[in-house]
Symmetry: C2
């Protein structure tokens, strides 16, 4: 392995000078030239590990998401990577599958690396952040609020978005609007349910019947099961508010199977459907802003890495109805009314 000592000898300078050249510290021009030539001849590549050990810094940002295969997190991750690279950082990808054990394992890896910072989608509202907190590794939570409000977070306005989404269904003339949302321990599921309830109350002047609220895993299968259950009720709903894109997929699939696609049964998906070529007519979508979430989280993390010491901040991004920020393709004339 070629080191700064080899380069120094070849260039006839000291190792310290080589180091300075590679760190942009003032050195006489002709020496800079000599060092650069020597480095090129020897194929010198600086060893980042030595650098990191010495400076106890790193140029890696850990990105911890439930599952990169969910397009929502894919887009968010890509946004983070773009900003990170522009700032000279690399991104370490960690899929937690919303498993707190896996999450802690990754936090331990990130802390012992140690990475420059962490962007985290917390798996629960009680995720233990003491590992990074104790070691002073900055954390920014995204999509879900920081446990205990201990660190910065960037979230979408789930309550308002869900309320607006549910309202779309009432506005379209549906009356018996049900809700399929995620499990108890997931914060976004709770907030979206709250938004749904608010809209329901505002339109019906009553609480939704308890069997109109289905809570299940954030999966396609969960959406399917919940939809079957709803349609089997004595007084089945005539419209469904789906709490995320996977649930909506399940809802739509079952409705298609039962030949009950909109307008027979109205549907709103909270969060854009993944690259839908031909959105079935009448399905309405509330767009979450994954790219903005990622960009904002990355910006906030970079500020923290650069030493910002303000108390934890919370940014709430608006949820847009009918926006295309998510980059999803929708064909005119085939899209939602």
């Amino acid at each position: 392995m070629v080191t700064i000592y080899d380069v120094a000898r070849q260039a006839g300078v000291s190792p310290a000078t080589v180091s300075r050249v590679f760190n942009g510290i003032k050195v006489t021009p002709d020496r800079v030239e000599a060092v650069k030539r020597a480095a090129a001849e020897l194929g010198f590549v600086p060893n980042r590990n030595a650098r990191r050990l010495r400076t106890s810094s790193s140029e890696i940002i850990a990105m911890m998401v439930p599952d990169i295969e969910n397009p929502f997190f894919t887009v968010m991750t890509r946004a983070v990577e773009d900003l990170a690279r522009a700032a000279g950082y690399s991104v370490m990808l960690c899929n937690t599958d919303d498993d707190p054990g896996r999450e802690q394992e990754y936090l331990r890896v990130a802390v012992s690396d140690p990475v420059a910072g962490i962007i985290l989608v917390p798996s629960t509202r009680t995720t233990d952040l003491s590992l990074p907190l104790e070691r002073g590794v900055p954390v920014v939570c995204v999509d879900r609020r920081a446990p205990g409000g201990l660190v910065d977070s960037v979230v979408a306005d789930n309550v308002a978005g869900a309320q607006a989404g549910t309202q779309l269904l009432f506005d379209a003339g549906y009356h018996r609007v049900a809700c399929v949302t995620g499990p108890e321990q997931v914060e976004t599921a709770l907030e979206r349910l709250e938004g749904y309830r608010a809209a329901y109350r505002a339109n019906v002047r009553d609480e939704p019947p308890s069997d109109y609220v289905q809570r299940t895993e954030y999966t396609i299968a969960g959406g399917e099961a919940a939809t079957r259950a709803l349609l089997a009720l004595p007084h089945p709903p005539d419209a469904i508010f789906a709490g995320n894109n996977k649930l909506a997929s399940g809802v739509i699939r079952v409705l298609a199977e039962l030949d009950s696609l909109p307008p027979a049964v109205g549907v709103v998906s909270f969060g854009g459907l993944p690259l839908v070529l031909l959105t079935p007519q009448g399905i309405m979508v509330t767009h979450l802003p994954p790219r903005s979430l990622g960009t904002t989280a990355a910006e906030m993390l970079l500020e923290r890495i650069q030493g910002l010491t303000e108390p934890p901040r919370e940014v709430v991004l608006p949820v847009v109805v009918g926006d295309e920020e998510s980059g999803l393709a929708v064909i005119e004339g085939f899209t939602a009314r």
Copy 2:
């Protein structure tokens, strides 16, 4: 920062013993116990940079893909991450956007890290691998063959797959089958074109007319433009073989716009369409095996990291027609016939 020296003092042993405990090297049980307790009390987390510097090793695998937002690469990356984690490695995500400059930049980063190994989707057939090669960093190419055959690679059988896909259209009764594929410098585009040609020749007993072959960027916009061009021909095709999923999306969107979806104009997409909820009837899909590609590449890389010194290997995975390995959801009754 708590170091092994702090733990050693607290536990009444030497730093080397602490190191041994954390590396699973034989130590008397009660000392192990003492070290573990001391470490827990002090909140000790080993510093990987120091370890890496000392052992000149790393537990990071660099995953270089054109764009993580393409579901094909998303799935592949997830497969890699799963295997990597199981083997104790982390994954560094690098989006090259098929830009050779970006690719070299990332290779430089990976080499100077230095990472344990690299999984690369080469942006061109002439990508320069000398950086990792000189520094002895193992590289496995995936989806596209290794430039110069210098390292291992795992690819799909594009020629046979494209031939089979095109054949589907002839079998369905179409006669004037056109092809939309990717740009010259991309190897997969070339191979898929070759498969298309073979199928065309076998059925028509002639070469396809030159204006039936459209070469464009692997983008939705490219697919759209190519489709418009094809349909504007004096003798327009009655079916289109699309060389990848993005092209197919463009094709389908234009056909939908012109009210010429199958069966009016037949379509085969090479590669699964991204989480298509309701695949328009009659669109046929040839499934690439992104998960297998990722898994195989990761396995081969791990072998290289462990010191395997065989000459470069090339694995060709079969392309399956009608398979669902890609994890894409297709509704029964709405899927391809």
